[in-house]
């Protein structure tokens, strides 16, 4: 866990970020990294029982964080989260959409739209619509500090043999990021994607069920390991959130230890 008192330069001091799905995994890692750099962080979690401990932990380390229970599939719930954020911290500079539900392995020819598609579409693409729209007035006000960061996946670039309908959802998020980069660029707001392979609870559970999966994944990864949500993925999100990336927009950084080398 990042030490708040040293090694950090307060690059986000005075700024406020919402991170969806920050009750665990990659979202938690990003939230902790942004908080360590001085951001006020809103842990937007579906259940307070997962989000509150993260917020309290950040507070205990000297950071600024609150938890706002948020259903990202519900437009009104997302708007309420943004309103609560602005009321508490006076503005919103950074929206990170990370939350996601779904990803059951399936055969494409047998996929059921309700079982294998609906949740991914709702928590992925629809939630980008909801979070982006709710955040926009505040990101615009933040001007050149305004950031919309979407957590997508390498599968959204290269497809997936195991979860074929996961890939189009993640690809759509990247296309929206590119389009919004063009649309929102004149206001100084940047829109970028992070595509991680990280030690999320879901992946760790999969490793526990199948140690061979972990061995195979690490073997095909030049860096030989799965990313750490905070140190590896959170740091890339921090780059996109900070002024260091002010001239970078519409891009996807694949953080997977070098597995995908498509460009």
């Amino acid at each position: 866990m990042t030490n708040f008192s040293s090694a950090n330069s307060g690059r986000l001091a005075g700024r406020t970020a919402i991170v969806t799905g920050a009750g665990q995994g990659v979202g938690e890692g990003i939230a902790r990294r942004l908080a360590a750099e001085g951001a006020n962080v809103v842990i937007a979690a579906r259940r307070a029982v997962t989000g509150e401990p993260v917020a309290e932990s950040i507070q205990s380390l000297g950071g600024s964080a609150i938890c706002v229970e948020t259903d990202i599939t519900n437009r009104e719930s997302v708007a309420a989260c943004v309103a609560a954020t602005v009321q508490r911290f006076g503005g919103l500079h950074i929206m990170v959409h990370n939350a996601f539900r779904g990803g059951l392995p399936h055969k494409l020819e047998e996929a059921d739209l309700d079982r294998h598609w609906k949740h991914m579409s709702q928590t992925g693409v629809w939630a980008v619509l909801h979070t982006g729209q709710a955040a926009w007035p505040h990101l615009r006000d933040a001007g050149r500090h305004g950031r919309f960061i979407i957590v997508t996946s390498p599968s959204g670039v290269e497809g997936s043999a195991n979860i074929p309908l996961y890939s189009p959802v993640k690809a759509a998020e990247r296309a929206i990021a590119k389009s919004l980069a063009r649309e929102w660029g004149p206001s100084g707001v940047t829109v970028n994607c992070v595509a991680p392979v990280a030690a999320s609870p879901a992946l760790l559970n999969a490793f526990e069920r199948s140690p061979a999966l972990q061995a195979a994944l690490e073997a095909r990864t030049p860096l030989g390991r799965v990313g750490d949500p905070e140190a590896d993925i959170g740091s890339v999100a921090l780059f996109f959130a900070s002024d260091d990336s002010a001239y970078v927009t519409g891009q996807t950084v694949v953080c997977d230890g070098g597995s995908f080398l498509g460009l």
């Binding site: 629809w126 979860i163 309908l165």
Partner: protein
């Protein structure tokens, strides 16, 4: 050599033009022409109804069309999308999302169905072929078409469908053939 009429799945002017072209192949082939909206609208003005029409319903139709091709035993599946899938476009985020999703679903299908001898590819055409007026929403590329034309269905798209649907293309899968006259040249 056998000559099988290519099945065209989809509605709209482009799908109609492909049906009229009466394309044949030596492999059983489905061409999916997704419902790609062309109504430009700022992202912040999109309603849930807009998004349902531009994203949710076309994606569900495309998934069912892919499944139908598999069920029919076709060994060639080709999806047609506009190049804004890769480039993005201002005021067309909802449209680009669907186009890119289908382009990457092609890769998933190619990976999963390759062992069954099925190839799945994508042809990316100029947005204008889907009725999208890119000039109206601002530049989406850095250059005009290198070939000075954005292409026609019969002369430029149909030959690529013949290529990707042929026996000769047995080792081509998961690919995107960009056929916009040389606008989008990213890898």
């Amino acid at each position: 050599m056998v000559s099988i009429a290519v099945t065209i799945q989809g509605a709209g002017a482009l799908a109609d033009a492909l049906r009229a072209a009466d394309v044949h192949s030596d492999c059983a082939t489905t061409v999916v022409v997704p419902t790609i909206g062309c109504q430009a609208k700022p992202f912040t003005d999109l309603t849930d109804a807009d998004f349902d029409a531009a994203w949710e319903q076309p994606m569900r139709e495309a998934i069912v069309a892919f499944q139908g091709a598999h069920k029919a035993g076709h060994t060639r599946l080709i999806a047609i999308v506009p190049t804004i899938a890769m480039s993005g476009a201002p005021q067309l985020a909802h449209v680009a999302a669907t186009a890119e999703a289908i382009r990457v679903m092609v890769k998933s299908a190619a990976r999963q169905w390759g062992a069954d001898g099925i190839t799945v590819n994508c042809i990316a055409v100029a947005p204008e072929m889907f009725g999208i007026d890119t000039a109206a929403v601002g530049a989406v590329s850095i250059a005009p078409p290198a070939l000075a034309t954005k292409g026609t269905v019969v002369d430029d798209l149909v030959p690529l469908i013949r290529l990707a649907s042929s026996v000769d293309a047995h080792h081509l899968t998961g690919a995107t053939l960009t056929a916009d006259g040389g606008i989008w040249m990213a890898p």
